[in-house]
């Protein structure tokens, strides 16, 4: 999931709600979509900005670990596919920033919050991509986990978010397939390639499980977001679903999931598995992961180095406007 630990505002009981808030909640309960110009509780608006902003930032920062291998892609075809994928991610960022702008926050303001550390992006992108197999693992596991969260979000209550998610999901399933395709090639390849694939799974398994956020018992913000249909499933539900989907895929590849406690539980109809190291998760979120400094540093550098470019375009637009005004004046 690209939005972890999103703090939710509100959390009022029905008795505490104003009649307007009750009417709003009833619209959501009926499955109606909330549109930009309509009234909404301030907590709903703020929570959505946080979640959509974090999601958009994740797409943008998410270009970096994969962009890391574009110039080293092993064939022209793989290079083209990876370029297309990273381009899609930038496009997803653009849809999501645009959707967030309908809530009264500008893209520049959101960028500023990312750069200052006030807003986060998914913890997963703070892990390094060390081999070509990581391009497979990122597509297979990271995009797989993202889809798990994003498919239900197509039904989220906020119209622009829901519509953005519908477009994004179509592209994400293509991304996941291409990731799995890389893994299949690696696993059918030389012993060195197969070892690379196993190593990638070993390194990305637990960080992928962390993408769904902390366990439900420790997740304090879920209830309100679920009532508002900003969040559709609990963290643990989605994590379980992800594990159950991924384990047979790993088996098909001939890879071993790095968890000694992983086994099928007939009674619950799902796998038992080990929790990721939540201490590590909170450290990564706090900025202490292996690539936090590089990832955020790269984004801040891109923004700062590009200031002259954006200012130059604005200056040109200003000159054009002056010229048009002078022409109008001359014509009068």
């Amino acid at each position: 999931m690209y939005a972890q630990l999103v703090q939710s505002e509100g959390g009022k009981s029905r008795a505490e709600m104003t009649p307007r808030e009750i009417a709003f909640q009833e619209r959501i309960d009926r499955g109606e979509k909330i549109e930009p110009k309509e009234w909404m509780p301030e907590g709903y608006r703020k929570t959505l900005i946080r979640q959509m902003g974090q999601h958009a930032h994740s797409e943008i920062v998410g270009q970096l670990p994969e962009g890391n291998w574009i110039t080293r892609a092993p064939t022209l075809e793989r290079k083209a596919i990876l370029l297309a994928k990273v381009q899609d991610e930038a496009g997803h960022g653009l849809y999501l920033y645009s959707a967030a702008e309908t809530l009264g926050v500008s893209r520049d303001e959101l960028m500023e919050m990312l750069h200052s550390g006030k807003m986060k992006y998914s913890s997963i992108f703070n892990y390094p991509t060390l081999t070509w197999a990581d391009m497979g693992a990122v597509g297979w596991l990271v995009d797989g986990a993202a889809i798990m969260n994003q498919v239900p979000l197509q039904r989220t209550s906020y119209g622009p978010y829901s519509r953005a998610m519908i477009r994004i999901c179509k592209e994400e399933s293509f991304h996941q397939r291409q990731g799995y395709d890389i893994m299949m090639k690696m696993c059918a390849g030389t012993p060195e390639q197969k070892a690379m694939a196993q190593d990638a799974l070993n390194r990305f398994w637990y960080p992928s499980l962390m993408m769904f956020g902390p366990s439900d018992k420790d997740s304090v913000h879920s209830a309100q977001s679920m009532a508002w249909k900003i969040k559709m499933n609990t963290n643990d539900e989605l994590r379980q679903k992800f594990v159950d989907q991924t384990v047979p895929q790993a088996k098909y590849l001939g890879l071993t999931v790095p968890d000694e406690n992983l086994r099928w539980n007939e009674e619950k109809g799902g796998h038992d598995f080990s929790e990721p190291d939540w201490a590590e998760f909170f450290e990564v979120i706090a900025g202490n992961g292996p690539c936090n400094a590089e990832r955020l540093g790269a984004r801040v550098k891109a923004w700062d180095d590009g200031a002259w470019f954006r200012d130059g375009l604005m200056a040109h637009a200003g000159k054009q406007e002056e010229r048009r005004a002078a022409l109008r004046l001359a014509a009068e």
């Binding site: 574009i70 022209l76 990273v86 381009q87 496009g91 030389t190 891109a302 180095d305 200012d311 130059g312």
Partner: protein, 264 residues
């Protein structure tokens, strides 16, 4: 009138070698410029630019696959486009020096792209009527993509040249740095003569007037002074490159070199 004294079989083979060489020039230009554009992925000044550059790199890599694929076919030695791209050393690369110039800043990246796009558009237009239908077909497809590349790069050169004091200074500097690498695009050598004689491709020198007129018009609107006649570097199309190409290839070819024969 000249009397032919060589072995009659030598001519088709010489022609074939020239054709392969020429196709590699087309493919290598796309490959190396695509590589440079892709270096910006996730690092450009605005989200729209990230998308545009990735898209452009994608177009160029796609065109490279067609050109090098045809080079492999014409060569007839059982090589693939990937083997040509990934298993040659720098001296066998045939791209112009312009496309291997480093990105430096977004201004130089855009100026390099514009100077190349203006040439690319000229040659593709002519190649649509190539005597070789395979060349004509690739050119027709690529021309649609390159028309968009040129529209975009020319527009940005104009806006940044006629923008703020800083953007203008950067574009001026970029033009001064890159213009000396454009002359090579219009020099004719034996390979070009052979291609022109066979009706496969125009002589590079014949593209100069069209390129000049596009470049002059854009520079004028961008309020940038045309550098005029300046010393021109040469060598790329006959395999004598700058130091930069070796590093591009070291990065690009790493996996193919480290794991020979592996399938990816």
């Amino acid at each position: 009138m000249t009397t032919r004294t060589q072995d009659p079989a030598a001519e088709p083979s010489a022609h074939r070698d020239a054709f392969v060489d020429w196709l590699q020039r087309m493919g290598d230009n796309c490959l190396i410029l695509g590589h440079r554009a892709s270096e910006w992925c996730g690092h450009s000044p605005a989200l729209e630019e990230d998308i545009a550059l990735a898209n452009q790199a994608l177009d160029l890599i796609g065109q490279c696959q067609f050109w090098l694929g045809l080079a492999a076919e014409v060569e007839g030695k059982g090589r693939t486009a990937d083997q040509i791209a990934y298993l040659r050393d720098a001296g066998a690369f045939r791209n112009a020096l312009l496309v291997e110039r480093p990105n430096v800043d977004f201004g130089q990246t855009l100026m390099r792209q514009f100077l190349f796009d203006a040439w690319h558009m000229e040659i593709l237009r002519k190649l649509k009527s190539s005597s070789d239908p395979r060349v004509a077909e690739i050119a027709a497809k690529a021309e649609k993509e390159v028309a968009y590349h040129l529209e975009r790069s020319a527009d940005l050169v104009i806006r940044l040249g006629d923008g703020s004091a800083e953007s203008r200074a950067r574009m001026e500097k970029a033009l001064k740095a890159l213009f000396p690498y454009t002359g090579e695009l219009f020099t004719d050598d034996a390979v070009d003569q052979a291609m022109a004689a066979a009706g496969i491709a125009p002589l590079p020198s014949s593209l100069k007037a069209g390129w000049d007129s596009t470049v002059s018009a854009v520079l004028e609107e961008a309020t940038l002074a045309h550098p005029g006649e300046v010393w021109q570097h040469k060598g790329g199309k006959r395999g004598v490159h700058s130091e930069h190409l070796g590093y591009i290839l070291a990065e690009m070819q790493f996996l193919q070199r480290a794991y020979p024969g592996a399938v990816w």
